[in-house]
Amino acid sequence: MSLYDVIFYLFALVTLVSAFMVVTTKNIVHAAFYLLFTFFGVAGIYALLGADFIAVVQLMVYVGGILVLILFGVMLTNKITNVQIRSGSTNLVAAAVVIGIFAGALLTMMLNTRWLVNPGKTLITTIPQIGSLLVKQYVLIFELLGILLLIALVGAASIARKEEREK
């Protein structure tokens, strides 16, 4: 096993173990912390595959943005830390069927996609390609996603202001 493989399995282990802990822990603050390690593990795997831009954006958006907002929600909610959240299992049969279908779809996709062979060995930055694809081939989807985010922002602001008007 080469150094590359060792590092890959290390990141994979961190990701899987912490993801498992996120869904099984009973303390919501601890769940948020385990999520931090999951995001880090995924970022590490991206970096290992040579996707430098995606790896850093993963850190900036998920760890630096979304998880901070989750922690905000947890911290500003009174006495949430002492609540035991339920993490048992119900409806096992239905869940197994849905998960089976989902796993099957993922596996068919994995087997039918032509993957780039020998990734990560070339240290070429991916930013110029991503940039030109975003403003040439995928420009419509890119703009639509921007508008979608703007709508979400305006919606959030209007919901937040509503309570003030009622007073």
């Binding site: 150094l3 831009f53 850093v56 850190l59 900036m60 943005g65 922690l71 240290l123």
Partner: protein, 343 residues
């Protein structure tokens, strides 16, 4: 060069940089006290060593010998973890900042930067966005309302000013055509410094850097008259010192980033016209970098002891209604520069 050689060279670089950074952080504290003394017509520390030069060591020993108190209501584990997160992020950011051109030592070309990565600027942005964690977790885990308020203020402030910081950097990236710090410095050859090409971006980035490092006039997270000490109210001994060190290390990193992105890094205009030898040029260029960072640090301290603190609504208004439009304006300006002059 094989893998082990590369690891060895990188380790040596890391040790040198950490040592220099730790020493300069402790002396920065002394200089802050000296400059504040000059600003207020006092002497400042002058009892430990000549001109107070041994004061940093006395301070560290004092803090080491103090009792470490953890409040009853605190979340013990996170309370201890938070200062380490703050320190770790402060010191690992320095990995991508180049402090000199490429040199040859024993025939091996060595770049004077720990990690020369393609996405260096993004790496710094990502780590600054992680910097929120140290302060937020410290504020939350202390179990005190002053700490919590400080932590919340700090996160809101850092998230708001990250926006204008990112847009100011985008202007620099446009003219440099790269996210690699060394390429950005090389693009500012001669007098083509970004501070001269994009003065608005320089100002917005510097102000955002002040806000990101929680320095006066943006130090609301630890506003003494309202919050006792803010997020570090419940910290004592070396844990408090950890936050203190991280704050000053962040100041050095912010200055180094300003110098790299806007003030030409290690560049000295027209030095290659003088016909000096390679070695002398390199030493002068490293010195130029150090001097530029020193001047920025002086400005950081100078502002702290001159400008009063903002009110919270003023801070948010400045961030979203002034800084953000200005940084967008700078981005358009930079795009025009690239389009018209083909920089």
């Amino acid at each position: 060069m094989n893998v082990w050689q590369l690891i060895l060279i990188t380790l040596v670089k890391i040790i040198i940089i950490i040592t220099i950074l730790l020493l300069s952080v402790s002396y920065l504290v002394l200089f802050e006290r000296k400059i504040s003394a000059w600003a207020q017509n006092r002497y400042g520390p002058n009892r430990v060593g000549y001109w107070g030069l041994l004061q940093p060591f006395a301070d560290v020993f004092k803090l080491l010998l103090k009792e470490d108190i953890v409040p009853e209501a605190a979340n013990k584990f996170i309370h201890s973890l938070a200062p380490f997160i703050a320190l770790f992020i402060a010191f690992s950011t320095y990995a991508v900042i180049p402090f000199g051109p490429q040199v040859k030592i024993f025939g091996e070309p060595i770049k004077l930067v720990v990690a020369d990565v393609n996405i260096g600027v993004l790496y710094v942005l990502a780590l600054t966005s992680l910097g929120v964690y140290g302060i937020t977790l410290a504020g939350w885990s202390s179990g005190s309302k002053y700490s919590l308020l400080g932590g919340v203020r700090s996160s809101a402030q850092m998230i708001s000013y990250e926006v204008s910081m990112g847009f100011s950097i985008a202007g620099v990236l446009l003219t440099a055509h790269s996210l690699r710090p060394i390429a950005i410095v090389n693009a500012q050859y001669g007098w083509m410094w970004n501070a001269i090409l994009q003065p608005i971006g320089f100002i917005t980035f510097t102000v955002a850097a002040f806000a990101e490092t929680n320095r006066m006039p943006f130090d609301l997270p630890e506003a003494e008259p309202e919050l006792v000490g803010g997020y570090h109210t419940e910290y004592s001994s070396m844990k408090f010192a950890g936050f203190f060190l991280a704050e000053y290390a962040n100041m050095i990193i912010a200055s180094a980033m300003i110098v790299t992105l806007y003030l030409g890094g290690w560049q000295i205009p027209y030095i290659d016209k003088l016909g000096l030898s390679m070695g002398l040029t390199t030493i002068l260029q490293i010195l130029a970098f150090v001097v530029k960072v020193g001047i920025m640090l002086f400005i950081f301290i100078w502002v702290r002891w001159t400008v009063p603190r903002f009110r919270y609504d003023q801070l948010m208004n400045l961030g979203w209604k002034v800084m953000f439009p200005l940084s967008l304006l700078n981005l358009i300006w930079a795009a025009l520069l690239v389009m018209i002059f083909n920089l």
